[in-house]
């Protein structure tokens, strides 16, 4: 187990580039979560069809 070490903080203005980068990263993370959920659903569906046989 390792704990996190806080190294600092700063203040500034949110630039358009940074805002766009965050939006892109959020979208990528959401796609990752959706892909995982789809995979889980498919696995569940396969399990059900296997039992039915």
């Amino acid at each position: 187990m390792t704990a996190v070490r806080q190294v600092g903080s700063e203040q500034g203005k949110l630039t358009r580039d940074m805002a766009r980068q965050i939006e892109d990263e959020l979208s990528a993370t959401n796609q990752m979560v959706s892909a995982r959920e789809d995979k889980a659903k498919r696995r569940k569906a396969q399990g059900r069809s296997g039992k039915a046989r």
């Binding site: 390792t2 806080q6 190294v7 903080s9 949110l14 805002a19 965050i22 939006e23 892109d24 990263e25």
Partner: protein, 193 residues
């Protein structure tokens, strides 16, 4: 004779004394000067108190803490963020851009050395503090996220908390999780700016 002299002297003195309208004018000018000086001094005081002293400048201190566990080649990271409004004004949060970012860094190949770069894009980015619309002065908000990361020879994780306000101000807090065993990662709080 003496009476006549004293009467003449009194008249001379009275001649030199300003008339009543003149006294009123002088008093009026003095009063205006004092009032102007008061306004000027008040303005200077207000400038230093509120502008230079940043009394009503929004000021947020984001802190990040947490722990990482390695289990069967998977890293389980619990990241806890604590955001405190240390300013004297209310801060309305921009929910779209108030996030925690997790960046990873991989060890260099054997024989190579030098600084290790963090990935340009975050491994994962999650919105935080969605349950809070704003932060009152002196108020604190806390949020926790859990991440699962395939340990692809990572040596450290970088956690970045980014708090954005609707006025396009942003505050960031950065924390490093050293994944090497035996490293002292005592939690240390960062100072706000």
């Amino acid at each position: 004779m003496v009476d006549l002299l004293s009467w003449l002297n009194l008249n001379t003195v009275l001649d030199f004394l300003p008339s009543l309208p003149t006294i009123q004018k002088i008093a009026d000018i003095l009063w205006k000067l004092i009032a102007s000086a008061g306004v000027l001094i008040g303005g200077i005081w207000a400038y230093f108190k509120f502008i230079k002293g940043r009394t009503f400048q929004p000021n947020i201190v984001p802190k990040v803490a947490g722990e990482a566990r390695d289990k069967d080649g998977e890293i389980f990271l619990i990241a806890t963020t604590e955001v405190e409004n240390v300013g004297a004004s209310k801060v309305t949060l921009d929910h779209q851009h108030t996030v925690i970012r997790v960046l990873t860094s991989r060890a260099l190949a054997r024989g190579e050395e030098g600084p290790i770069e963090w990935g340009e894009k975050a491994f994962a980015t999650r919105k935080i503090l969605q349950h809070r619309d704003h932060l009152e002065p002196g108020g604190t908000a806390v949020d926790t996220e859990l991440f699962q990361i395939q340990n692809d020879n990572f040596v450290a994780l970088r956690l970045e908390v980014l708090v954005a306000s609707t006025k396009d101000d942003k505050w960031t807090g950065v924390g490093i999780v050293n994944l090497s065993e035996g490293v002292d990662n005592t939690i240390v709080s960062g100072e706000g700016s």
